[in-house]
């Protein structure tokens, strides 16, 4: 306790806090998600909450936004004790939240989503809402189409809509739970600017992120959670006094309880790129899609090479990856693995041939949440020897396999029979990597492999990707995180509206070249 609690750099603030979480405790079965946490949120400040996956950040936010209620402790708004037992109550108190996972109704338009919650038998004033939306969007420097059905928007666009909606509501407190995770670097930067403008108007902003550079760039105050406890805080003065370098080191120390170096965002370690024949070659691949069809993509990856595919989310990356994996029909083109055409093969055959695909949707596509970890680890080998003999399950073999992978890939789980959905995002991702990287692989496609993970898990995952390449696999790395692409890739392709608009070698000039291609400057 004393080791954890003695790192308070927080000084009393000049302003009265607008919201105070006063020694709140929240327990879930088998876990204390928040343990006597006290956090004060001040108007005019961006308050960053940091902590590794499962530290309790979202739970804290949940109590502010009426999704969860504290088991112990209280919440003060404007100095008065309140009970925030429903989301409606939170909204009424002026607390607006952009949740970690999109909270929009896909079948309604943007404007209709904003109208939700209006008086029942009244006709929503779509025109006024649309105007308000446009105005608020302009304020943030984004553009939204009020009449677009939400289902047709990319996840990034949806998150923008949610931010615009929260801004529109003129909340006193705006909570952004990992709001930048789906944004492009430029979008994230714009959001940072917006947060600064909002606090300048006296609003309080709570900002949760796993990206320390973002945190430091926009915050006034930082609170760090670890294992459900608040283990430290850095106030505005202390932050200024420390400077970014020292602050980063201090935060990492607080978050992980060690002097772990900040690995994510480090410079690219030197790698020798083997120039061999293409292991995975794509020739003129076209994939039909209602929203973003993929058109005539040609590229090749050699053994031991990492080809990064950069691009703003929703530009056909998903369609491309699915077509490679065999989950989607292609209209034309060829896919060759070790020179052998595989485009006629179904998913399972492609996997047997050595092609692996780590999906970006670990929860809804990569795994079956209600099934145990052990079964999820053989999900793509159902019926195969040695896990099944003549179609009959061999539980012992499956369990052995699972135990081996769980320890090799450091999957933190109570047991191999635990439903995989109960694990944290980082550990689900490790399980996914374990499944895809084990066995005789030849080429791997990683889609947004570190999305939503904490610093340590990001580091571990990126190391896996490097190790995979070093072990002689051909790697395609699809990511919206430019830093990640630059850190890992040997060559970088940029995808825009379903086309590859260019491929460059990674190097000192790559950032500029890729950035230009992504923003459509160079075509």
């Amino acid at each position: 306790m004393s080791a954890l609690a003695s790192h308070d750099h927080d000084a009393p603030a000049a302003t009265e806090p607008v919201v105070v979480l006063d020694h709140v405790t929240k327990r879930f079965p088998g876990v204390v998600a928040n343990d006597g946490v006290t956090v004060a949120i001040h108007p005019g400040e961006v308050h960053v909450l940091l902590g590794e996956n499962g530290a309790g950040k979202s739970t804290l936010v949940g109590m502010l936004s009426g999704i969860q209620t504290p088991d112990e402790g209280g919440i003060l708004v404007g100095g008065h004790e309140v009970s925030i037992d429903t989301p409606a109550r939170a909204l009424a108190l002026g607390i607006g939240t952009v949740f970690q996972h999109a909270m929009l109704v896909p079948s309604l338009t943007v404007a209709e989503n904003v109208a939700l919650g209006g008086p029942a038998l009244v006709r929503p004033d779509r025109r006024r809402i649309a105007e308000d939306l446009r105005r608020a969007a302009a304020e943030i420097g984004v553009s939204v189409d009020p009449d677009a059905p939400v289902g047709s928007l990319s996840l990034g666009e949806q998150q923008q809509v949610e931010i615009v909606r929260a801004v529109m509501r003129q909340s006193r407190v705006l909570i952004l739970d990992e709001a930048t995770a789906m944004l492009t670097p430029k979008g994230a930067e714009e959001l940072g600017g917006l947060m600064r403008r909002l606090v300048a108007r006296g609003m309080a902003v709570v900002f949760i992120t796993h990206k320390l550079n973002e945190a430091l760039a926009y915050c006034d105050r930082i609170s760090v959670l670890r294992l459900g406890r608040k283990v430290g805080a850095i106030g505005p003065e202390a932050l200024k006094a420390m400077g970014p370098k020292a602050a980063t080191a201090e935060i990492v120390r607080l978050m992980f309880g060690s002097s772990a170096a900040v690995a994510a965002g480090d410079a690219r370690p030197a790698r020798t790129v083997p120039a061999g024949p293409a292991v995975l070659a794509v020739e003129g691949l076209s994939v039909p899609d209602d929203a973003v069809p993929v058109e005539a993509v040609t590229l090749a990856v050699a053994a031991g090479e990492i080809l990064g595919i950069a691009g703003i989310d929703g530009n056909g990356q998903k369609q491309f990856a699915e077509a490679l994996a065999g989950q989607r029909r292609q209209t034309s083109g060829r896919v060759l693995l070790d020179g052998r055409p595989i485009d006629a093969l179904p998913v399972g055959e492609r996997r047997k041939a050595g092609l692996r695909y780590v999906t970006d949707d670990r929860l809804h596509e990569g795994t079956v949440g209600g099934f145990p970890v052990a079964l999820n680890l053989v999900l793509k080998q159902i019926g195969d020897e040695p896990f099944w003999t003549r179609g009959v399950e061999r539980p012992a073999t499956i369990a052995d396999h699972a135990r081996r992978l769980v320890s090799a890939f450091d999957v933190r789980t109570p047991g191999i029979e635990t439903p995989v959905g109960k694990l944290s995002g980082g550990n689900i991702q490790k399980a996914l990597l374990a499944r895809e990287l084990s066995g005789a692989a030849r080429a791997v496609i990683f889609a947004k492999p570190t999305y939503g993970l904490d610093v340590q898990n990001i580091r571990a995952t990126r190391q896996r990707i490097r190790d995979a390449a070093d072990g002689g696999l051909a790697v395609i790395l699809i990511s919206t995180d430019l830093e990640e692409i630059l850190e890992l890739s040997d060559r970088i392709a940029v995808m825009d509206r379903g086309r590859i608009v260019g491929i460059v070698d990674n190097g000192p000039d790559a950032r500029l070249a890729v950035g230009e291609m992504m923003s459509g400057v160079a075509a």
Partner: protein
């Protein structure tokens, strides 16, 4: 927007290997609500001026304790078990086959026409086997349209199977009246399979060996779904279609397979009911077993053994209830009320149990 089917509940939890503790616990969560239901229904009886103890005494006596009553209960189980087996496969695979009654009835009608026609030429045993196969096949055929529409176009199977059932019930009547009619009688019904040519009875009782077929089917289906690769594939499809596609499973093929198995079991239930008990099909006959079995299978959480227990309970109640109603002058409708109260309370018990488990015990 989504091609996923409607989810009736959250997908069934993965079953850990059976241990004794949970089974006893499960038993306790069944016995409690059964008793509570009896008390509640007893109050209704009191209101009707009937002695509840006498009523229940008769139900237990006639449905469970008396040899003929017990035999009747066991015989009644056969078609219910087969239908339940079909529902377990479908529901675990996330497919809401509500067309069991149509599949059952058509299987029954075709078998009723075929049996008497064959038995004279190929003998009893070959006839029985052929009829079982044909009944299952007819059931499966009646699911082809919903299966293809679901697999190919994502058309919701609740609509199509309900429609096929409405259609099937009428079609069965048309077949009985126009195609398979017994010319020897003015009653619109098929020819009758002689008692001697039906499925043999078990030992020296009146229990039809259909019971064994039903038990084998439910247990077989349970093992299929929990212990085999094929069953796991179906469960993956049921739990998460996107994950199934991602894992390289052929969702359309598996969907068609699920429909075929599920409907074949319903058709087989029809065959067993005809070969084991009825001997023929009359026009307008429709016992509508499927709809009563659906909640039983849900309450059993798609577990085969629990299903057997619930089907047994239901059979005892309906056999004993018919008798008690007559003896005590309560209209037979009262059995419906008892079953309704029982279903609600069993559901409620499961809810309380789940909440207690969530609260961490």
């Amino acid at each position: 927007m989504s091609s996923e089917s409607a989810r009736m509940t959250t997908s069934p939890p993965h079953l850990p290997r059976p241990r004794l503790g949970p089974h006893l616990h499960r038993l306790a969560t069944v016995v409690g609500p059964v008793l509570a239901a009896l008390v509640l229904a007893g109050l209704v009886l009191l209101a009707l001026g009937v002695d509840p103890l006498a009523y229940y005494g008769t139900v237990v006596q006639r449905g469970l304790l008396s040899p003929t009553g017990l035999q009747a209960s066991l015989t009644r189980m056969a078609p219910l078990l087969l239908i339940a087996a079909g529902l377990i496969v479908a529901f675990r695979a996330g497919i809401w086959n509500l067309g069991g009654d149509g599949q059952f009835l058509l299987g029954a009608v075709v078998v009723a026409a075929l049996g008497p026609a064959l038995v004279g030429t190929i003998g009893v045993w070959p006839t029985l086997v052929a009829c079982l196969v044909v009944g299952a096949a007819v059931g499966a055929v009646w699911s082809v349209l919903p299966a293809l529409l679901k697999a190919g176009q994502g058309v919701n199977e609740i609509i199509t199977t309900l429609m096929m059932t409405f259609l099937g019930v009428s079609f069965a009547n048309v077949l009985v009246k126009l195609a398979f009619r017994d010319p020897g009688t003015t009653v619109p019904q098929t020819r009758t399979l002689d008692v001697a040519d039906r499925l043999p009875r078990l030992f020296d009782t009146t229990v039809s060996s259909g019971l064994l077929i039903g038990l084998v089917a439910v247990i077989g289906v349970h093992l299929l779904m929990t212990r085999t690769a094929f069953g796991l594939k179906l469960r993956v499809v049921g739990a998460n279609t996107r994950a199934a596609v991602h894992a390289g499973l052929s969702v359309p093929k598996l969907t068609v397979a699920v429909f075929a198995i599920s409907a074949a079991l319903s058709g087989l239930a029809g065959a067993v009911e005809i070969l084991g008990v009825q001997g023929n099909v009359r026009a307008d006959w429709n016992p509508a077993y499927s709809l009563t079995v659906v909640p039983l299978v849900f309450l059993a959480r798609f577990n085969g053994f629990a299903t057997i227990a619930f089907v047994f309970l239901f059979s005892v109640l309906s056999i004993g209830g018919e008798s008690a109603a007559r003896r005590l002058g309560v209209p037979n409708y009262f059995t419906l009320v008892v079953v309704a109260i029982l279903l609600v309370l069993l559901g409620l018990a499961e809810y309380l149990d789940q909440r207690r488990r969530l609260a961490g015990k």
